[in-house]
């Protein structure tokens, strides 16, 4: 009997925890103020600090959580949606169709077996590389040197129109299909699995980030960030203190959002 009661109490507390987790909402917490004349476009977390791209000034800046500048990389001709993985900072250089890798103070080109035209964003995971190939309206997927092209120019399901960001989740690719105002989900063979956000009023879906149970998408022209669960169901819409968001980043219980039209990064917490 006691054993039965213990199991019952344990089960009920598990259900309560789950409900509590689902009840939590993202709430505006504060802003990281950046130096004047900065226009933060994309963010990457490196330990306790951040790198962000500032294409207006042809540079990247490394800051701490207070916004203090710790380091910089200059002379990059419009650095766009950057990525950081296993100690390497990946930087797409929009004007030269190049992607650079920075590691331990050294700079070298990313080995990519296809030429993008205006690379807008990328995600590197082990030996898998996905690049948002903005002017070719496609994603370049390279797995162990083998290249697959995903999408082609158009507005129908499976077609892309100026993709800006891309994220790999398991063996699935999420693409910010920016000027089709949606996110499309593909398998590694380019088969479209899901289309997300078409009814949610997006005006330029420009960046994606994941945490364990959700993903967030920037709605650039409407100054919003939309949160979805992994099934693509809308969970929450954020707009407070967001000004022209071009990138979004989950970090544990925080969500960071770049305000491209002002020199700040907004952050929300889960409450």
């Amino acid at each position: 009997m006691n054993k039965f009661l213990m199991v019952l109490v344990f089960s009920l507390s598990l259900i309560a925890c789950k409900e509590k987790e689902e009840d939590k909402k993202w709430t505006f917490k504060g802003k990281i103020e950046l130096p004047e004349k900065v226009r933060p476009l994309a963010l990457a977390k490196t330990g306790e600090d951040f790198w962000f791209s500032d294409p207006e000034q042809f540079r990247l800046l490394k800051i701490d959580i207070s916004g203090k500048v710790l380091d910089s990389i200059v002379g990059i001709k419009r650095p766009m949606n950057i990525d950081f993985n296993e100690g390497k900072l990946y930087v797409p250089e929009f004007l030269t169709d190049s992607i650079w890798v920075f590691e331990d103070g050294k700079k070298f080109p990313l080995s990519l077996n296809a030429k993008p035209q205006a690379p807008a964003g990328l995600h590197v995971k082990g030996d898998t590389i996905a690049v948002a190939d903005f002017y070719n309206h496609r994603v370049i997927l390279q797995i162990k040197e083998q290249v697959t092209f995903i999408g082609k120019e158009g507005h129908n399901k499976g077609e892309l129109y100026y993709p800006i960001d891309v994220k790999i989740k398991g063996e699935i690719i999420y693409v910010a299909d920016a000027y089709n105002n949606r996110v499309q989900v593909f398998d590694f063979n380019g088969k479209v699995l899901n289309v997300i956000g078409e009814k949610d009023g997006f005006n330029v879906a420009s960046a994606i980030t994941f945490n364990k149970n959700n993903f967030a998408i920037t709605d650039q022209e409407n100054s919003r960030v939309l949160i979805y669960n992994l099934n693509g169901e809308l969970q929450q819409i954020l707009s407070e203190n967001i000004n022209y968001p071009t990138d979004v980043l989950f970090d544990e219980n925080k969500l960071y959002i770049t305000n491209f039209k002002e020199n700040s990064i907004t952050f929300y917490t889960l409450k």
Binding site: L41, P55, R78, M80, L95, A118, F134, Y135, E221, Y244
Partner: protein, 89 residues
């Protein structure tokens, strides 16, 4: 062809400012910059996202047809607005 000849009235030189609708998006604005850089004779380009305009500096002694510039803007997916010619002096 006749239509082009009619609109291409005078060649551009020195500094020109072009108003462009929808230049607020950085990805598109820098895409336009990329397109305009391909024009022979362009020395430098200034993109003003806030004002939605492009400053084109044409190399000394070079001339560019207005149609070439307009076509490049349209190729990048934009609608060109007023073109203002400025003296280089």
């Amino acid at each position: 062809m006749t239509m082009n000849a009619q609109t291409d009235t005078s060649p551009l030189e020195g500094k020109i400012t072009i108003e462009v609708d929808g230049l607020a998006c950085p990805f598109c604005a820098y895409g336009l910059e990329k397109n305009l850089k391909e024009i022979d004779g362009v020395e430098s380009i200034g993109i003003n996202i806030d004002e939605g305009s492009v400053l084109l500096v044409i190399a000394k002694g070079k001339q560019i047809s207005e149609n070439t510039v307009l076509e490049k803007i349209k190729e990048a997916g934009f609608t060109p607005g007023t073109i203002k010619k400025e003296s280089d002096e």
